[in-house]
């Protein structure tokens, strides 16, 4: 955060006094985080309910789509209430085609699906926020939830690439995933996975994500149950084949609906922060370049900066290595670097943690080197003695030593 200079001694003292007063407050952070995430999940659900109640009145609410259907498009954390959301889009009277109603989106999906029975349809039109359709489809072999979410992404952006990029096996369990390019230049990813990545319930979730060259983003999902979560499995597989999913995702009607969405001019503006515009290198390629010779990398994340990982092997077993690069972390230095932390001559702080893994893989250990530069940039690297955090240990120790982790974290190559 930019540091303000206060000229008045009273203001200086007030600043110091507030730091002192605030520093005295402690709480169970883990509990805060857990409850916060739970609220987020509930919030998604409530927002869908609010949209249904306020918009397409009279539609029954059966089965509620989740975050995966609505990848952030149109959501606005900066608006302070659910009610405020619906007022906002009027800010942009640009010449968009006339809005497409939720009912019309439901009819579109019904037409695209094979013959069968439909129930529990729920939708949001293009002038109410992020449009979606959700219904229960039964082809005679068991009811299944099917959903479509619509949005825009910046063509060529990181986000456009990420939504059509198969997730790393180190972080997600799925059966099959593939990406292909359509004749019109659109990219589609079809993933056959599970509603719960840890498969505590075996609900299958199959999903197609399409991004067109113009930035249309269509997400089609289906399950082998009448709802995504908390519903019994009704059939062994979801009803639509991967080819059918792809076909539905590429329907022109969805793109017309996305074109009818009002431009959200406010969306790309995030927090201003002239002092924190340091550019970070893409994590996985940088990490690869910093690994000692003789390691084989079997898997790695893409070109993202901020977070990335590789799975490396020195011949003795797979080992996941992940890195976070974050700006503006100076104010939490006290939380991250305790009294045992080391301070280098240039002011960089370094902390080392060695402990058990956090995701339940049997015998998994996690070695972490956390570093904080004086400008507030944090590079934290963790290595595991397994190819994923939630699978059993594949080797005795991670593929990198603490000294190697430290030298990677302190490399200047993280900053462009």
């Amino acid at each position: 955060m930019p540091l303000e200079q206060h000229s008045d001694p009273f203001e200086e003292q007030l600043s110091a006094g507030m730091r002192h007063a605030a520093g005295a407050f402690e709480t169970d952070r883990a509990a805060l985080v857990t409850t916060g995430a739970a609220r987020g999940r509930r919030r998604l659900l409530l927002r869908r309910r609010a949209a249904v109640a306020g918009g397409a009145a009279g539609l029954a609410l059966v089965g509620v789509g989740g975050a995966l259907l609505l990848p952030g498009a149109g959501s606005r954390t900066d608006r302070t209430s659910v009610a405020a959301d619906s007022r906002h889009p009027s800010a942009s009277p640009s010449a968009a085609p006339s809005p497409v109603s939720g009912d019309s989106l439901i009819r579109t999906l019904e037409k695209l699906l094979p013959s069968g029975k439909f129930s529990g349809a729920e939708a949001r039109g293009t002038d109410e926020g992020a449009p979606y359709v959700h219904l229960v489809f039964d082809d005679g072999k068991g009811a299944a939830a099917v959903g479509v979410g619509l949005g825009r992404v910046q063509p060529g952006s990181d986000q456009a690439r990420q939504v059509t990029e198969c997730p790393g096996k180190a972080y997600a369990h799925y059966d099959t995933c593939g990406t292909s390019r359509l004749p019109d230049g659109s990219v589609v990813m079809v993933l056959q996975g599970y509603e719960y990545p840890d498969r505590r319930v075996d609900t299958k979730w199959w999903n197609a994500e399409l991004v067109s060259p113009q930035g249309h983003h269509v997400s089609v999902s289906e399950w082998n149950a009448a709802a995504e979560k908390d519903a019994p499995i009704t059939r062994s597989q979801p009803p639509l084949t991967p080819a059918q999913l792809k076909h539905i995702a590429s329907a022109a009607a969805w793109r017309d609906a996305i074109d009818a969405m009002p431009e959200d001019k406010k969306k790309p503006t995030a927090e201003p922060s002239a002092t924190e515009s340091t550019a970070f290198a893409p994590v996985a390629p940088t990490l690869k370049s910093l690994l000692p010779k003789g390691l084989t990398v079997s898997e790695s994340s893409g070109e993202d900066s901020g977070f990335g990982y590789v799975v490396a092997d020195d011949g003795k077993g797979r080992s996941l290595v992940q890195v976070n690069v974050q700006a503006g972390m100076a104010d939490v230095a006290g939380d991250l670097f305790g009294s045992g932390a080391e301070t280098l001559p240039d002011g960089t702080r370094v902390a080392v943690h060695q402990g058990p893994g956090e995701k339940g893989g049997a015998g998994v250990v996690m070695w972490t080197v956390d570093t904080l530069r004086t400008d507030g940039t944090r590079v934290v690297i963790s290595a595991f003695n397994s190819g994923a955090q939630d699978t059993a240990a594949t080797r005795k120790t991670p593929v990198l030593t603490i000294a190697q982790l430290r030298s990677i974290a302190l490399s200047p190559k993280w900053f462009l």
């Binding site: 407050f25 952070r29 954390t77 927090e271 901020g306």
Partner: protein, 170 residues
């Protein structure tokens, strides 16, 4: 990429929760229950749009902004309570009758400011934001921030005295 995103969110939330909580404690003038509630709500909002939040240049600053706006919304909903706080008397005999310092503590003093004034003070003097940034976070003009700031500082001087040295001692 949802699992990677989830991990990224969890990591972010774990690291930021402490700072958000302390900010919330100042905003609520020491009401720790409300502060916890505000932080949970903030983390919930970030969760909902994490995919987008993760891409902004400064997610930490963004989180602070969400917290502040969550606080202001909360205050609007309880506007009657807020007015009651604004007209609270100064309790001059707090220290006179008992063996307590005459002046209020910093948190008590903050509690006597209207919520928006308190928010300005927290942004300017705890988060070290400029007048312009404060204005942007609060969706008001820079002039409005300056006015609130001058008024709040005057009130705090009245309540705390000119020398704040004792509150700032580590």
């Amino acid at each position: 990429m949802w699992q990677v995103r989830a991990d990224e969110y969890a990591e972010f939330a774990a690291v930021r929760a402490g700072h958000l909580y302390r900010s919330a404690c100042l905003l609520t003038a020491g009401d720790t229950h409300l502060a916890e509630d505000l932080v949970q709500e903030t983390l919930g909002r970030l969760y909902v749009s994490w995919r987008r939040v993760a891409r902004v240049e400064n997610p930490a600053g963004y989180a602070q902004t969400v917290l502040l706006r969550t606080f202001l919304t909360h205050q609007r909903r309880r506007s009657s309570t807020e007015r009651a706080m604004e007209v609270l008397p100064d309790r001059p005999d707090d220290g006179a009758g008992r063996d307590m310092p005459l002046r209020l503590t910093l948190l008590e003093a903050l509690a006597r400011l209207p919520a928006k004034d308190r928010a300005v003070v927290v942004l300017r003097y705890w988060e070290d934001r400029s007048v312009e940034e404060t204005a942007q976070v609060m969706n008001v003009s820079s002039a409005a921030v300056r006015t609130r700031c001058v008024r709040a500082l005057g009130r705090l001087r009245e309540l705390l005295g000119e020398d704040l040295g004792e509150y700032a001692r580590p």
